[in-house]
């Protein structure tokens, strides 16, 4: 029974993480899948979202803290919205100098901003407490739920131990519902959006920017909007991570790895398809977690195993690009034009 409880708890943990990645993947889908914007600074936006939420909803600086600012203990939803807004502003600042240029410039600029954000998090202790990070970020409704659970378990002392253990951890069930609920709401919003005139406009830009510009669309403005919107969604993902992990530090946001996983998720699931984006995040997170078990069976050191897992994901990406560039779920209707020959 213990192993089953362990497995169930692991699945809950797994689904919370995969769901959070699903949100990032949805955010990237609006940028890349629908508009064709190559953002490889996802980790940066994710980090900004997490830190913003932690500063807005977390406790004020303690005695041990290098901070002199932040920690307003505002409600969870306020922090979530603040995370979205701040990410949107960062995206705006990156987009303005780069979105009139070729895609390569946006790519370089987004990786640059992600790296710069990491440096700021590390060095600006007055705001971020430097490498020590932010601690004791409250999980929403944690205390009432735990109180209820304790009261319930106190009233039922004769429960079998495994059930006792499951119920004891039921806060995670609540958090899972919260993450999946937000994921689902975002999915519904995105689905409506991509079918709206706005969605048709950004898709037209993805297909052929010059043609879209010639038909009188302000492509720059649409691209900025898509970049900002996607970044806001990533910020929401970041805030959900902060409230679940309860502790964040610059080391949680290694610039390329997080970004890379999200890209593989979207590309594997099928860019330009919101269901694909979510499917991909669960599949790739499954593979990622699976390789953790797998490498455990070989006589590798921990760092070797970690490297091997990244190599596997990198190979997976190349395999998809070579043999199934459309991903698991194809785009709705029109064929992917990124596969068209360049003139």
């Amino acid at each position: 029974m213990d192993t089953i409880v362990g497995i169930i708890n692991y699945i809950v943990f797994f689904a919370i993480t995969a769901g959070t990645y699903g949100i990032l993947s949805l955010g990237l889908n609006i940028q890349w899948g629908y508009t064709g914007l190559f953002n490889i600074g996802i980790a940066g936006f994710y980090a900004v979202g997490a830190y913003t939420a932690a500063l807005v909803s977390g406790p004020p600086p303690g005695a041990w803290d290098g901070r002199i600012f932040g920690g307003f203990e505002l409600p969870f939803l306020v922090g979530l919205l603040a995370a979205a807004v701040v990410c949107g502003i960062v995206a705006l600042l990156v987009g303005i100098p780069t979105l009139r240029l070729r895609a390569d410039y946006l790519a370089i600029a987004t990786i640059g901003i992600a790296e710069t954000i990491r440096l700021v998090l590390k060095n600006e202790s007055w705001l971020t407490n430097g490498v020590w990070g932010l601690q004791q970020i409250p999980s929403p409704l944690y205390d009432p739920i735990r109180a209820g659970v304790t009261r319930f378990l106190g009233g039922h002392p004769d429960l079998p131990p495994w059930l006792h253990d499951l119920i004891f951890k039921s806060y995670n069930w609540f958090y899972l519902l919260l993450v999946l609920g937000i994921l689902f709401i975002l999915y519904l919003i995105m689905q409506r959006l991509v079918r709206s005139p706005w969605g048709r406009a950004v898709k037209a830009i993805r297909e052929d920017e010059d043609a879209a510009a010639m038909s009188g669309k302000n492509t720059f403005s649409f691209k900025i909007q898509a970049l900002v919107l996607g970044a806001m969604i990533m910020g929401i993902g970041g805030s959900l991570y902060a409230h679940y992990a309860r502790f964040i530090s610059p080391a949680s946001f290694k610039p390329l790895y997080g970004t890379f996983l999200v890209w593989v998720m979207l590309v594997l699931g099928g860019s330009g398809n919101n269901k694909g984006a979510i499917l991909g995040s669960f599949v790739v997170w499954g593979i990622w977690a699976g390789t953790d078990f797998l490498t455990g069976y070989f006589p590798f050191t921990a760092t070797q195993a970690a490297s091997l897992r990244i190599i596997i994901i990198a190979v997976l990406l190349e395999v998809i690009l070579l043999w199934r560039p459309q991903g698991l779920l194809q785009r709705e209707k029109r064929p992917p034009t990124i596969l068209k020959k360049k003139a």
Partner: protein, 307 residues
């Protein structure tokens, strides 16, 4: 005034790091101009070169090839031999990566190639990490005394003079190749207009091959020189410089190898001089901000005009 007195010394450091950035940047620029994509794996080609040289150096030492330091330098013949062989082996590896991967994706789009290069970057870095681990490996154990240049009072080590000379020689060779050899001219022609190059009878696949060979050999050079300067290497060596390299290339004009050299020098100097005023940790951010300012003023860069 304390700050200002440090500047001459920082300028020397800037020239050294600028030399390394320029060599990395030439490769990024050549690949961009011929194949049309920003190669995110270039930093890891640098690390690959540095590790291949390390492996070969261990091998030459094992074979009894002398490595007594040459003159004032802290390394000897065995190291220089490994250096040169590593350039070749890095080029070979990169050509194989092109054959099996980039070549097959060339008919898609530049963004797909860019995405693929990110996969290569992470894959390669972790292959290095798998075999050598994340910890630093020492290139040179010996501590070298700096020479004080009389009058200005700045210090420079013989190894650092070697780095600057190696960079000047490499840049000179690249310049000779591009301006005075048939393949170099064909490379510039292909960068101008690939379709016209084919119509003219230029074997563009050969041009692409040469682009990779030169870019990779220079990447290996940059990686090894960075190893000499830092005295140690890690698998992250190239990645840590990639952002500054991209900034150099964009500053000089994406796709123009001469721009990459100019941009590399400017970025190298600015990064080092900035440490007199702000935290050393912000070096990559300095490069990034210079790049963004350039994009706002003139997106084609200092020397660029195309695209």
């Amino acid at each position: 005034m304390q700050i200002l007195s440090r500047i001459p010394q920082l300028l020397i450091y800037g020239v050294i790091s600028g030399s390394i950035l320029s060599l990395g940047g030439i490769g990024v620029s050549l690949t961009y101009s011929i194949l049309g994509f920003a190669n995110f794996a270039h930093g890891d080609f640098m690390a690959l070169g540095a590790y291949i040289a390390l492996g070969l150096f261990t091998l030459t030492a094992g074979l009894g090839i002398p490595s007594t330091p040459l003159g004032p330098l802290s390394f000897g013949f065995g190291f220089i031999l490994s250096f040169i062989l590593a350039m070749g082996l890095t080029a070979l590896t990169v050509v194989l990566i092109d054959r099996f991967l980039f070549k097959r994706l060339r008919h898609t789009s530049s963004i797909i190639l860019m995405m693929s290069s990110i996969g290569v970057a992470l894959g390669l870095r972790n292959v290095l990490q798998f075999f050598w681990g994340p910890q630093p490996h020492y290139y040179i154990e010996k501590i070298q005394l700096a020479i004080v240049i009389p009058g200005v009072g700045v210090r420079i080590k013989p190894d650092q003079v070697f780095i600057i000379i190696a960079a000047i020689v490499s840049v000179g060779l690249v310049h000779y190749f591009l301006q005075h050899t048939k393949m170099g001219k064909a490379m510039r022609a292909t960068a101008d207009n690939m379709a016209l190059a084919r119509v003219t009878g230029i074997n563009t696949e050969r041009v692409i091959l040469w682009t990779w060979v030169i870019g990779a050999a220079l990447a290996a050079t940059a990686g090894i020189l960075a190893g000499i300067e830092n005295k140690f290497i890690t698998p992250e060596l190239g990645w840590q410089m990639l952002l500054s390299i991209f900034a150099s290339v964009v500053l000089g004009g994406l796709g123009n190898p001469y721009g990459a050299i100019l941009g590399g020098m400017i970025i190298g100097l600015s990064e080092e001089v900035s440490t007199a005023f702000i935290s050393t940790g912000y070096k990559p951010a300095v490069a990034f901000i210079i790049m963004i300012i350039m994009l706002l003023i003139k997106p084609t860069g200092l020397l660029g005009k195309r695209r």
